[in-house]
């Protein structure tokens, strides 16, 4: 590969991994960070970008996306998801294994990784299934999946009910140094439920999912992590006592990381009123008190990361009676704006802390390259305008799906330039056309 040089000039570089927040130039050479310095002069063929007025951050990393391929290509493909990611400012995403068939062996993991590379947008890291066929019976081929590129295993979409199997998973992954990412849900408590169990569900006549369905399983997983010494990553924490359980476990030294989603720190179960299926998500949107607790958990670091749980669905799948519609909403293209609008603007996090929760901490949780602008780190960079005002219009999404509860919402903050491996893959000044065309390839 010919030496490729990019200079990002005049931006406000925020790199929580080095405690940097200052206006400085960033030099990227050959896919790696080469220098941070004032007034960097590059050679004649260097690509020089003026990023003054923008925040220059290590590329955002989303630990939780559903790219639907194989089996759900009408909702999203690995390619369309990877392009949706870079438009949202993400340079890497972790693809959950609950596809059809599930990603439960090295061949399937290799397929996801290869499709991700072909997409040529965000890095796509496969997450393998905990059990064969996601059936919750026998451990999947964890070691071989790691060799093929899996960065974690997860039961997302099909929670492991068998505590013995969860214990084995937490023990067995120890050899490979990867975490077990857990979607905590006691199915016997959540069965038939479609939204949070509370006054809104009662008024609407919708079967509820109690907070305890999440918390009971979370408590189990934390105890098993403590028992085994394994690494647990808790996905999409949505309740006050869930956050409290994690805070507690961390204080005891349990190896646990956790994520929260933009929808859980922004919306409450009242978003469902009117039977709005775009607000149907699992775990469900909770009451305001829980939402406040999620913000508090992100503030004090109990919840390490922000992850989207990007879950695309075709429009007619959501155009149904509430209880018949599937769970999930798309999040890649709204996450940064929601983080700035709901957390930074409202004083929950500083900008540097937001970058930490969306880049540095996720990289650490899953041992991924990136999350830092240290010399030698991958040249994965997101430049965003924290002051840009925009309105969410799903028609403009690069994702194949439009299922968002944020339609029409005014947001502040948007990615302007996304660089992956030293290559500019998203440039807002060029408009959406290129990303859209690329997103529809390899489908």
């Amino acid at each position: 590969m010919a030496e490729r040089t990019i200079v990002l000039k005049g931006g406000r570089v925020i790199d929580p991994s080095q405690g940097i927040d200052q206006v400085v130039d960033l030099l990227l050479v050959d896919g790696a960070v080469a220098e941070l310095g004032t007034d960097i002069q590059a050679g004649g063929d260097a690509e020089v970008r003026d990023v003054s007025g923008l925040v220059v951050a290590p590329g955002l990393i989303d630990l939780h996306v559903h790219l639907r391929q194989p089996g759900g290509e009408h909702k999203e493909t690995i390619t369309s998801g990877a392009w949706s990611a870079v438009v949202g400012g993400f340079t890497a995403v972790c693809a959950m294994p609950n596809t059809e068939p599930p990603i439960d062996d090295p061949a399937a993991v290799g397929y996801v990784a290869a499709q991700g590379r072909r997409a040529g947008a965000a890095r796509v890291y496969p997450v393998g299934a905990v059990s064969v066929g996601q059936k919750g019976e026998r451990l999947a081929l964890v070691g071989e999946m790691v060799d093929a590129g899996a960065v974690a295993i997860s039961d997302d979409g099909r929670p492991v009910s068998d505590s013995g199997l969860m214990r084995l998973a937490l023990q067995y992954t120890d050899t490979f140094g990867i975490p077990v990412a857990s979607h905590c849900e006691d199915l016997s408590l959540s069965r038939n439920g479609s939204m949070h169990e509370g006054i809104v569900a009662t008024r609407l006549g919708i079967t509820g999912i109690p907070s305890a369905a999440e918390e009971a399983m979370l408590a189990r997983d934390l105890l098993l992590a403590q028992l085994t010494g394994g690494r647990l990553h808790v996905q999409h924490v949505s309740t006050r006592y869930g956050a409290e359980l994690i805070r507690n476990a961390k204080a005891r030294g349990v190896q646990v990381t956790a994520e929260a989603t933009p929808h859980h720190f922004t919306l409450t179960h009242e978003a469902v009123i009117g039977y709005r299926t775009d607000a149907k998500v699992n775990p469900p949107l909770r009451p305001a008190d829980d939402m406040e607790a999620i913000r508090e958990g992100l503030r004090d670091g109990t919840l390490d990361c922000i992850a989207t749980d990007h879950a695309p669905h075709h429009y007619d799948e959501k155009e149904q009676a509430f209880e018949d519609a599937p769970f999930g909403l798309v999040g890649l293209e709204t996450a940064l704006g929601l983080g700035i609008t709901e957390l930074v603007e409202k004083g929950v996090l500083g900008l540097s802390e937001l970058v930490e929760r969306m880049s540095t901490a996720p990289a650490r949780a899953f041992n991924l390259p990136g999350g830092s602008l240290r010399v030698g780190a991958p040249a994965d960079v997101t430049a965003f305008d924290p002051a840009e005002q925009w309105t969410v219009d799903p028609e403009r999404f690069v994702s194949k799906s439009r299922n968002t509860p944020f339609t029409g919402r005014q947001l502040k903050g948007r990615a302007r330039l996304t660089v992956v491996g030293g290559r500019v893959v998203w440039d807002a000044d060029q408009g959406l056309d290129h990303a859209r065309q690329q997103a529809r390839k390899n489908a």
Partner: protein, 323 residues
């Protein structure tokens, strides 16, 4: 289609109705009641209007009551009754809505197993939509006829203490009654096994009674809900016999009431389970009045949604002119 009727375009539920709107329906129903007493039970109020009764769940009672109401107002009616057949299961609500819209009908009366289905339909078609029961959400005309029956017998709704007994969790009748009665100033209680009371029910502004004896002590009116057999099969209550023993409305319990007690039941009854025969057929029971009032209330709703004015209901009975 008149968008600005006294009730708006649709009757999806009672939660969104004001006290004035609820009173307008009840007063109009009162005026229409007399038609059912006539030799020729027909007035030309809805002549030329087409109404589809789309029942995607079996319900003889409600459908027949609506049909009587429609025919007595001279509407043209068509029934799409599909008792949970696979054909209906396969058709999505969207397709149902599109098909109904293509028929260019004036009004749709829909019963559907999914909560929110009535609103779903109302948002997608220009016809007036009347909810005849959507899942566990609302069954507004049932609650209206319950309220009319209570008002007939007690003379008012303000301050009347009404306790709904039984499976509140799965009951659209309970929800509509709670919304409507509270808006009109009644006090509402609920009583049933805790497994069949929905979460946070107190936040709907109702009193909760653990024991039927306490409920009877407090209430002026008991509205006794049917206990579906499936609830026992699903484990909400251990047995029907035990349910009758703990929550059943027996003669002894009714006789222990401190004052006069009115007993309603939306039907169909499980005699010997939630209500004993001597109560169902006894002096406190107004169950047959409910059936009569059902037709009058549905006539009132149809009339008002078709653009009729509440004050002109008396005149409309004669000449069918409603603007």
């Amino acid at each position: 289609m008149p968008p600005n009727t006294a009730l708006g375009k649709d009757l999806v539920g009672l939660e969104s109705l004001t006290a004035d709107q609820l009173r307008a329906i009840l007063d109009t129903a009162e005026a229409f009641k007399e038609i059912s007493e006539r030799q020729i039970k027909k007035v030309p109020v809805l002549r030329g209007k087409t109404i589809v009764n789309a029942f995607f769940e079996p319900s003889t009672r409600t459908r027949v009551s609506f049909e009587f109401a429609e025919k007595r107002l001279s509407a043209d009616t068509v029934n799409i009754a599909s008792s949970g057949s696979s054909v209906v299961k396969g058709e999505t609500l969207v397709d149902t809505a599109r098909n109904l819209e293509a028929m260019r009908i004036d009004m749709v009366v829909m019963r559907h197993g999914s909560s929110g289905s009535a609103q779903f339909l109302a948002e997608r078609i220009p016809s007036n939509v009347i909810n005849a029961g959507d899942g566990r959400h609302e069954h507004p005309t049932q609650a209206l006829l319950d309220m009319l029956t209570i008002r007939d017998h007690v003379g008012r709704l303000e301050g009347v203490k009404v306790c709904i007994v039984g499976d509140i969790l799965h009951s659209r009748v309970a929800r509509s009654n709670i919304f409507g009665l509270r808006t009109l100033g009644a006090e509402v209680g609920v009583c049933g096994p805790r497994t069949l009371l929905p979460a946070a029910i107190e936040e709907m502004g109702v009193k909760v009674f653990a024991r039927i004896e306490e409920a009877i002590e407090w209430a002026d009116v008991l509205n006794v809900l049917r206990l579906q057999l499936e609830r026992m099969q699903a484990g909400y209550v251990p047995s029907l016999r035990e349910y009758n023993r703990v929550f059943g409305l027996t003669r002894e319990r009714v006789q222990a009431a401190p004052g006069e007690l009115l007993v309603l039941h939306p039907g169909p009854m499980n005699r010997g389970v939630e209500i004993d025969s001597d109560v169902a057929d006894g002096p406190q029971s107004v169950i047959l009045d409910q059936v009569t009032n059902g037709v009058a209330v549905r006539m009132a709703v149809l009339y008002l949604l078709a653009g009729g004015e509440p004050e002109k209901a008396e005149a409309a009975k004669v000449d069918g002119a409603h603007g």
